[in-house]
Amino acid sequence: MSSPRIDVSIEHRDAPEPPDKKHPNTCPRCDSHYRDDELDAVLWVCPHCGHHFPMNARARIASLADDGSFVEEATEVRSEDPLDFFDLRPYLERLQEAEMKTGLGEAMVIGHARIETLPCQLAVMDFQFMGGSMGSAVGEKFSRACDAAAERGTPLLSVSASGGARMQEGILALMQLPKTVAAVEDLKDAGGALISVLTHPTTGGVLASFASLGDVIVAEPGALMSFAGPRVVQQTTREKLPDDFGLAEPNYRFGHLDATVARPELRAFVARLLRLFSPNGD
């Protein structure tokens, strides 16, 4: 007798959080708990132990740019669904959900701003938007940021936070690697500079493209920056991973980073670089 197979591949949308999962405002390192406004006031860095909480794109821009100086660009660039992609849910539904959650149109925000009065172009990613994954819209926005920086003759500051390429766009997501790299090369040919700040996490296709091509590359303390994530490496190699696998600190030791810069110092650090790259030093 054959029993009918039960399809269990249904995602539980409102499933309760697993009990071991901490509240997002609870410090994973020292268990201190904070309200949103408390963390906002300290740039989302734990005052007790220095852990860097994830920071969304808007808060990041506010923390770097001079008040009121940021002018957003290319807001009209939005994702489409070229493959009619459907896994457990349609891609378009995931996009809408991400938009509701973040208030952003995509996983990257670009525009121009001043930092300590120095003009620069910004390209800031938001991990909350589908894991900061890079699809066609992110690739296009980053490319436009390169062009705008070249046109204005200002450096481009990229702040990345990404799980990698956006699988729902298939091969076109992979093509954003060569696309963004070509844009960076055009910027560099035009005499422009790219300052790349890697934040937790910057992995996969974003690390393997523009984020690694900065004239200066820095990361926030504790940021994961690996091409392959720890779980994939563990499963593939069955190796015991070092506790600090892929983090900014060992990457700095191995020579892949110019510095690790704590978030409270980032604005001043970037401003110093902008002065150095500006033609008159002011």
Partner: protein, 310 residues
Amino acid sequence: MATDHELRLRERLARLRNVNLLGGARVAGELEKLQHQLERIAEETTDEDIWRSVELARHQDRPYTLDYVERLLEDWVELHGDRARADDHAIVAGLGRFQGRTVALVGQQKGRDIKDRVDRNFGSAHPEGYRKAMRVMDLAMRHGFPLITLVDTPGAYPGVAAEQHGQGGAIARSHALMARLEIPVVSCIIGEGGSGGASALALGDRVLMQENAIYSVISPEGCAAILWRDAGEARKAAAAFKPDALHCLELGVIDGIVPEPEGGAHTDVDDAARLLGETVEEHLEELESVPADELKRRRRARFRALGVYA
């Protein structure tokens, strides 16, 4: 399986799409007509066809890079080592004569038997492999040798040492160097084109795929494990992200499809090599008449145009 007619149709369409200068009404009309025909055909590319490509692309007897080198290049000299640390056997690089001219060739290499497979790390390169590739690309550029790249990898190696040696940065810089080359570059996916480890060698003026090759952002198993939470759903994943040559052509990712012998490249390696050689030669010849800086400009423009967004 795709018919010859269909392949020609799609190639013509891809070419028309890429020729911006010919945006006149007549051509636009033809584009529409072709698109219409293509839409009819596209309905017939079934999920089974896609999965068949996945299986053929990974077939254990499928010809690998050195099988083509042996049949297409004379005076082949393989170059070893990244001049810094190691010689990564997952990537081969060297110089040879192709149809009367010196070319550089770079490609991933898989192994045939168990020992060989381990030695080649199943075609999954470490950063050292990409650095070797870059060294040979740089050599080609300085001497004005055209570059042929053959892509066949499940992906760059995800290991602790690979990360410590800078896998992400090496892949990024390989892309970047290819975007700077002022020589003709023809790339062909000859088996698995897996993720950034594949595209790092595929930033060509022309990107081709063999009929049964696949080119994808992630392996079907990897995609299934993440989105379906079950690696066993690989078929569903492949059907969803469509890594086959026809879809890649349709999306403008590749410029042409290299036909394979009936039944797949492994059924007649000599014939597969002949078909590959003919197509590569055709594209190289076209590219050799284009000034070097113009090649670079067009190559960047080609890749910068990729993507679908509102």
